[in-house]
Symmetry: C2
Subunit: 237 residues, 2 copies
Amino acid sequence: MNEKEFLAAYNKGNFEAPLLTVDAVLFTYQDGQLKVLLVERSNHPEQGKWALPGGFISESEDKTLEDTVTRKLKEKTGVVPPYVEQLATFGGASRDQRGWSVTICYTALIAHQACESELETISDVAWLPIEKVKKMNLAFDHLKIINRAHERLIQKALYSIIPAYALPKKFTLPELQQVHEVIIGKPLQKKSFRRRIEQADLLINTGKKRTERGRPAALYSLRPGSGKHTFVRNLEQ
Amino acid sequence: MNEKEFLAAYNKGNFEAPLLTVDAVLFTYQDGQLKVLLVERSNHPEQGKWALPGGFISESEDKTLEDTVTRKLKEKTGVVPPYVEQLATFGGASRDQRGWSVTICYTALIAHQACESELETISDVAWLPIEKVKKMNLAFDHLKIINRAHERLIQKALYSIIPAYALPKKFTLPELQQVHEVIIGKPLQKKSFRRRIEQADLLINTGKKRTERGRPAALYSLRPGSGKHTFVRNLEQ
DNA sequence: AAAATAGTGTCTCTCAGACACTATTTA
DNA sequence: TAAATAGTGTCTGAGAGACACTATTTT
């Protein structure tokens, strides 16, 4: 049999295969808290429990795995998050009652303002503070996945400005420091924080300022395109 | 319909699903080179091309994804590598001619001595130097996967002693430094290398020495169980 | 003694931590 | 002017880079 004949005779459906889904841990920063987007399951199994947004790959709509995540997140938030990165894949015989299952998980960040209007119209979707989520009884192994995503986000907050994607396009350095502090769970030295950002040249000073109370703060944005988000050295853990 | 009825009626096979495999990039250090284990494909598609070791999840034999990787690697090398870590999952509509496909990839390290006898008896398996592999025409997107694994291994060599798993249980510091240098692709300062290992307290001096030429070198082993493999600061890139 | 290899002493430099200080706004 | 917040100056200490030095083995 040559390759052409082989492919003509091949049928994927002939083989048993684990249940395969794609899920996302979408973070944002709101009201001084790190929040996660959760969806209340409307179907069996685990009906009524809160779960990560996600679903099945659509062989017709999706060309890549990223297409699946962004399609699913757009369904729930109305927009595609500016930062999406693969976290890990979780699989096993017992994580879903339907049998052997695998979920390819992504971490994503977005400014809550970017999807506020959409969220208000969907009743089974909510931003929940991560501290509260950690005490909840979520569907499947989704709490474990969220914990892994949080651990990795903490690491990123220690060596990169990736957390800036949880804020609107323009933000102040004190705001960004707050996001880092909330993610890491402890205060940071203002001077160290600003020094590394200045030296790494990762942000653009837009020249504008924002005044709320006290001295106005300069508004910055991420340097576009460069793809560089990391500092040469970690902050202490 | 309640959950019990739902599960009784549920049949995974009713849904289209991408082809799902698990593959591994298994590295070792041999003859001053970083090498990768490759397998010559005996079946369509991509028959005759070299590919990563891997295969399908067995719902009966495997309880976890790690079970699948280690089972597949044991088939090829006769042993289970001491270091196995998930790398990333690659998927898409066009990476396999059979249709939408997904592969969950792992990085693993092993001492070549640990699997030497087995390898000689299997003709379609070989350790190939990574520099040579990077110029080969491998099956599917396996070259891209190997490149990603190598990039990540370089990072690990800069901030951890994970590369020690590519050596036998006991090794000398000059040997370990050579492995790091080969992975990173540039020489390291002997003093810096030794100082960080001493300060991080990641190795145990076995008290034994190995003499080949010149002054005998102390033999070290990885501190067992601790799970800690990282330094507080990166080496320069 | 010479060659070969293992291992150390020590100076410099960069960058994070700490914390007091100055600057600019509103009330 | 006081309160509030933004932003800076500067000292200390940890640890990497560089490189010359010493130590221990075989031939």
